[in-house]
Point group: C2
Chain length 437, copies 2
């Protein structure tokens, strides 16, 4: 199966674990059998590979997520990078061109497009395999997944099928209704629109050429910022007459708020946390290395990360966004393709960070215009290149770099260092990259 995961969103609604550079799908919150934790994207990727070990997985996303994806899924997953955000029709057109022109997928092969963050069981991915097979064999241009509703939700769009068969033609689509209207739809046999589309590659490529003037993937990529923002539902799905829906009646959850996310947690605490016996329905997610103690609380979520601390009534947590919008914050933690960094201290004319490089990985060879840097290696082995000079380093070694000096570090084992940045204008944008000499 060719499967495309749409990975979007900056996810302020799960602050302080999600922020401008870390979306909710990268938060490691789900306990695995071995006791470690995985993120939503790791969970979904693992489930896909279990349902179809030969699955060709491609993630359609923005540039800001590429490092985190490589960090969490490794280098074998395909990534179609959107130069900017242009809603789902341009995104699906671009990734379809990527599959055809870059990966060489044949036009007659089917593709399943699915959000990156459904919280579901393995049966959901089995259904995606069936959807893929149906799209390949059916005369229909599009096959959707319709989820059997468990309550008259106002949060989802509805699909009315022609029949109650496993696979049915679509009779009509309905926008998010109020609860009363939702009940009427359900009485008519309506299904939730799960945002999953399966199609033969040719179909979407033809649609793309019909609606956008472009030659091939490279051309589409280069003019991507000129495209109109429009959803795939609006541009394609709702205008298509030859369309089927396949019903799914397993568990399906959208974990978009702290309230719904904590419902999916196996344990009440992740990280260092204690609560007294007077607490009820309390969840603690603590990414800091100091303890959280909760006493006498009810229906509360506590979330602590290097970015900040949220303490919220669970129902109230869905109103978080305007408050987070007010926080103009330094990024305190980030996963990069080579490892991660964490800000330890910020002063007016200095910043101290901890850098962790994964074994075999390295930073870009780069320099800064307006700051000096001092590295103290605290763990691991590797070598530095500073203005072309190579040097082996291990714990205890100190490397000083003046502004303008080109530098990188290559980790042999996992390597950790403390970086002190010194200067009047410290900024993440002050960085020139160079090829290695």
């Amino acid at each position: 199966m060719n499967i495309v995961l749409l990975s979007g969103g900056s996810g302020k609604r799960l602050w302080p674990l999600s922020n401008d550079i870390r979306s909710k799908q990268f938060i490691k919150i789900f306990k695995k059998e071995d006791g470690s934790y995985e993120s939503m994207v790791q969970r979904v990727y693992r489930q896909i590979c279990k349902a179809d070990k030969d699955a060709n997985v491609t993630i359609a996303t923005s540039k800001t997520q590429v490092s985190a994806i490589h960090n969490q899924l490794g280098d074998s997953v395909g990534i179609s990078v959107e130069p900017c955000r242009r809603d789902t029709f341009p995104a699906i057109a671009l990734v379809s061109a990527y599959l055809h022109d870059v990966q060489g997928i044949a036009e007659e092969e089917s593709v399943v497009v699915c959000p990156v963050d459904p919280y579901v069981n393995d049966d959901y991915f089995q259904k995606l395999v069936e959807l893929s097979e149906r799209a390949a064999s059916s005369e229909a241009n599009l096959v959707l997944m319709g989820i059997e509703p468990t309550y008259p939700s106002e949060k989802y769009g509805y699909v009315i099928p022609e029949s109650s068969a496993e696979v049915s033609e679509v009779s009509s689509f309905k926008e998010k209704p109020d609860a009363k209207t939702a009940e009427e739809y359900i009485a008519q046999g309506a299904l939730w629109n799960g945002g999953v589309f399966a199609y033969k590659l040719k179909y979407v490529l033809d649609k793309a050429h019909e609606l956008i003037d472009f030659m091939d993937y490279q051309d589409l990529f280069s003019k991507y910022d000129t495209l109109t923002k429009i959803s795939f539902d609006y541009a394609v799905v709702e205008k298509e007459d030859n369309i089927e829906v396949m019903r799914f009646n397993g568990q399906w959850k959208d974990l978009g708020t702290w309230n719904t996310l904590t419902e999916a947690m196996e344990e009440s605490c992740v990280g260092e946390a204690m609560m007294n016996e007077k607490c009820g329905n309390v969840h603690i997610i603590n990414e800091l290395n100091v303890p959280v103690l909760a006493m006498g609380l009810h229906d509360v979520v506590i979330s602590a990360s290097p970015e900040g601390i949220l303490v919220s009534d669970k129902e109230q947590s869905s109103y978080i966004k305007p408050f987070v919008d007010r926080i103009d914050q330094q990024i305190m933690f980030a996963e990069k393709s080579w490892g991660s960094f964490r800000v330890l201290d910020v002063e007016e004319e200095s910043m101290t960070i901890k850098v962790t490089l994964n074994p075999g990985h390295q930073m870009n060879y780069h320099s800064h215009k307006n700051r000096d840097e001092v590295w103290t290696v605290i763990a691991g082995k590797g070598h530095t290149i500073v203005d072309g000079m190579e040097q082996e380093v291990s714990a205890g070694d100190v490397i000083t770099m003046e502004a303008g000096c080109r530098h990188t570090i290559i980790a042999e084992t996992e390597l950790k260092l403390i970086e002190v940045q010194l200067g009047k204008e410290i900024s993440v944008h002050d960085k020139q990259k160079y090829p290695l000499e």
Copy 2:
């Protein structure tokens, strides 16, 4: 007036702001007129100096608090250091010998002993001045402060006076009663025992020699650890017949729990904090440099420090101690006589801390057996002495010190540095001090 402040307690009940090395009286939580914050000990000291600008203030405390006292009150305050904890009778005997033998206070002068942490207004300290004068002029051996009760508290001892006069002989003492008994006491005109004693120095010195075999201050100090633990109330006050009580009817609060402490806060937030309009009776004290966001909470205190995070129902917060006892924690922040340090990162074989030295101050000249250190100066000016070699340093300078190497740094202006400690056995106890060469 000669006034002794008894400063005790490790104060786990206000975790994470108080801990083994920072007692509650050092937490800067009370807003001053200039917008900055002061601690309980700073507030009390300021109030004493206002009531009597010539007050001779001596703090009786343990070794662990000396640095914090100098840091917060400067060097002019007297300190009587208890070599170990032996309850209030030995402590008052020791500080009385200190006043006589070290400070040269005459035996006929009066002394007022008072806890370091009452949350009171200026009228309380006016009353202490009156108490001091009364002790000097009265025939009574002891003059106590009796606080007019505002409710039948079960938390305090009671003093029954002979009369309702401003100053009265004491009829009897009562232990902490239940609420019903407290009501009966109050009906009899009982007062709360405020833990304040005034006496002529000779009286307590005589009592001390009567109960303890010692020559002078130095001798008492050297055998302090052999003394029996016994309270001044039990050893002296309750056995004394010639004793008076002076009544006080102003505000008097004991801020021993988060519940009572937050009642005394002028504002609902100290530090970076936001709350939505659905919060009621919520207090946030945030010592971290990232924001705390509270939503939809009621009657809750949130306290965040480098040691941890507490989120507690206010009433429940008084049951915190057993939970904090379970936390076996690295000290993450400490005030020293020369400034302060904060732990930024802890790894198996390294620790990174931020050191701030006050202008004109310096560390001890010292070395470590089992760790190397790297200093990167990030702000300020000063000079280092490393194995006898002196060097001027300022922001950007890096100093590396191998295990065994003697070192110190002297701050000319406020000086900040990042210290990376490297070694297999990093411990605060690994420190040899030397005189400066």
